[in-house]
């Protein structure tokens, strides 16, 4: 077994939390149950990883199998990576019969024709998600396995989720291969980024709870009603205002859990508008500023702003349109013309 492969497997196992190593090795399926039984998972990780490497040596693991183990780890810890969403465009309207084998073949062929030294690994998951791992090399160097790019694609959708490696120059090759393999002709990056892959999927696949007015034959879930304090000495002021806020909140955010986003950023570019008499600036340079809202769960916190009394309801549409517009990066510019008002660029 190649030294580099052994080292890579060792380092991958070291990344895993100790009580999950067995489960991940089982998912991997490269080592037999009998071999797994021989491993002592209670010792320090250094030793566990050495033993795993020895077993892989027995089975003559190569880089392909090692890459699969890496995908398994990254699939479980997908939220450690930052994902960007890309949208593809199609010319024709014909129906697609997405054939996985064809897709993989075309992808590999296209990518390899551009760059010979790549390691490409696929893994399919139950929810029709296709995970692609690409390790990049150069025409003269073997692929660097420690900085791969990950692509998650759901067949017959125009959306691709990419967690790219540091080398930005490989991105066009990756996009090209994706388009060719999935029969699209154009790809652009959406202004949507985050760590929670499932939340990004929820947003673009519209799986989050939107408050549609519809007849529900199933009885509505009983909302837990706080038992009204019977003590008549306590009265609730502003009850109607509270109810108004609840109603508006529900219209915007619906009843269910919100997708998890970590930030929303607004880039503002505006010209300083002043009296002609008070011409403060010599040069007419636009004013630029960046406003960034950060939170472990941005949408939930925005949803609770009004009920907590920290903001008036309804909230600014710039904040409430995030899931609907599927973006969390906005550019706000002055509208050029007679009436300079700010507007959100597409």
């Amino acid at each position: 077994m190649d030294e580099t492969v052994a080292e890579y497997i060792r380092r991958t196992v070291l990344k895993m939390p100790r009580d999950e190593i067995k489960m991940m090795l089982q998912k991997w399926g490269f080592l037999s149950e009998a071999q797994l039984q021989t491993l002592n998972f209670h010792q320090i990780k250094e030793n566990i990883s050495q033993e795993v490497v020895q077993l892989c040596e027995e089975n003559s693991a190569d880089i392909k199998q090692a890459a699969v183990l890496d995908i398994i780890y990254n699939h479980i810890y997908q939220n450690k990576r930052m994902w960007s969403v890309y949208q593809m465009k199609k010319t024709g309207d014909e129906l697609e019969y997405f054939d996985l084998k064809e897709f993989k073949k075309k992808f590999k062929r296209n990518l390899r024709s551009a760059l010979k030294n790549v390691t490409i690994t696929f893994r399919e998951y139950e929810d029709n998600a296709i995970w692609i791992r690409v390790a990049w090399g150069t025409p003269y160097r073997k692929p660097n396995q420690y900085k791969p790019s990950y692509v998650v694609y759901h067949s017959q959708t125009p959306y691709v989720f990419i967690s790219a490696s540091v080398l930005k120059s490989n991105l066009p090759l990756l996009c090209q291969a994706l388009m060719v393999a999935s029969n699209y002709h154009d790809i652009r990056e959406m202004e949507l980024r985050g760590h929670s892959l499932n939340s990004l999927k929820d947003i673009v696949f519209k799986r989050y709870s939107q408050n549609f007015e519809s007849y529900c034959p199933k009885p509505l879930q009983e909302r837990t009603v706080e038992p009204e304090s019977v003590d008549l000495r306590i009265t609730e002021e502003n009850r109607s205002e509270k109810e108004r806020i609840q109603r508006l909140n529900r219209e915007v955010y619906g009843d269910g859990p919100q997708p998890i986003l970590e930030f929303a950023q607004y880039m503002l570019e505006t010209m300083f508008k002043s009296d002609l008499k008070m011409d403060v600036l010599d040069k007419k340079e636009p004013f630029r500023c960046l406003v960034k809202f950060s939170s472990p769960h941005l949408l939930e916190s925005l949803k609770s702003l009004a009920p907590a009394g920290m903001a008036g309801a309804p909230l600014s549409p710039l904040l409430t349109c995030i899931t609907q517009k599927a973006r969390n990066c906005f550019r706000i510019r002055d509208k050029k013309g007679l009436f300079p008002e700010s507007f959100v660029s597409p």
Partner: protein, 238 residues
């Protein structure tokens, strides 16, 4: 000292509040029962009048006593609610139900296959200045844009008809794949390989009793997006 006094007062106030509460509850219960008694008495009188009327038979208008008591407003309301619910249920069963509002229209398309209710999908339209979609929960592999370009804003009916067919067929195909996985799990070798639209399904299977070394390979192609049955099936054995 003072605190002890305050405590005593507070304890007393609390006791009195509890007693008061109990008393109020009893009174409330009593009032409820009394009103029920009144209701029942009223009902009894109604029925009595009805019986009398029937006994008096075909008497003329003069002989008619007071009109049989008008059904109480409460009964009418309940009847209305029941019939509306029934109507909504009927609409829901047709697969399309909706609600019209000021400048807005919400539609729900419900899917079903073979007697099983499946997912519901929602659309919200703006009706002014012209009919267009505001937001929706249609999956991105259903050609919603294509259909809306073709049919809207003139032909809403055609649009909904086509969309409903697409959705029902997709839900049906997906349901069948899930059922296949569930009910024939010991026939199937490995996993079903499909795609998001569920219009291509490939799997290997063994018929129990057969030689397990030569599994069959089935490839189902669903060329018509509006149908939940395959148009082409290839079974091979290697």
């Amino acid at each position: 000292g003072m605190f002890a006094q305050l405590e005593v007062l507070e304890a007393r106030a609390h006791r009195e509040a509890v007693e008061q509460e109990k008393k109020e509850q009893r009174e409330e219960k009593l009032a409820l029962l009394e009103s029920r008694v009144r209701e029942l008495r009223l009902r009894r009188d109604e029925l009595r009048d009805k019986v009398d009327l029937q006994e008096k038979g075909g008497l003329g208008k003069e002989g008619m006593g007071s009109d049989p008591a008008l059904p109480s407003a409460r009964n009418v309301l309940e009847w209305r609610i029941r019939s509306l619910k029934g109507l909504l249920q009927v609409f829901h069963l047709t697969g399309i139900s909706g609600k019209l509002g000021k400048g807005r229209m919400s539609l729900t398309l419900s899917t079903a296959h073979g007697g099983s209710h499946l997912d519901s999908f929602h659309l919200e339209f703006l009706t002014r200045p012209e009919l267009r979609i505001r937001r929706h929960s249609i999956p991105s592999f259903i050609p919603l844009e294509q259909l809306s370009r073709k049919f809207l804003p003139r032909d809403l009916r055609g649009f909904l008809d086509q969309l409903s067919q697409h959705l029902n067929a997709f839900a049906g195909r997906r349901f069948q794949a899930e059922q296949l996985q569930e009910h024939f799990s010991d026939w199937i070798v490995g996993t079903l390989q499909g795609n998001s639209l569920c219009n291509l399904l490939v799997f290997k299977y063994n018929i129990p009793g057969n030689n397990r070394n030569f599994p069959f390979r089935a490839r189902l192609l669903y060329q018509d997006p509006c149908r939940s049955l395959p148009t082409e099936v290839v079974v091979s054995c290697s």
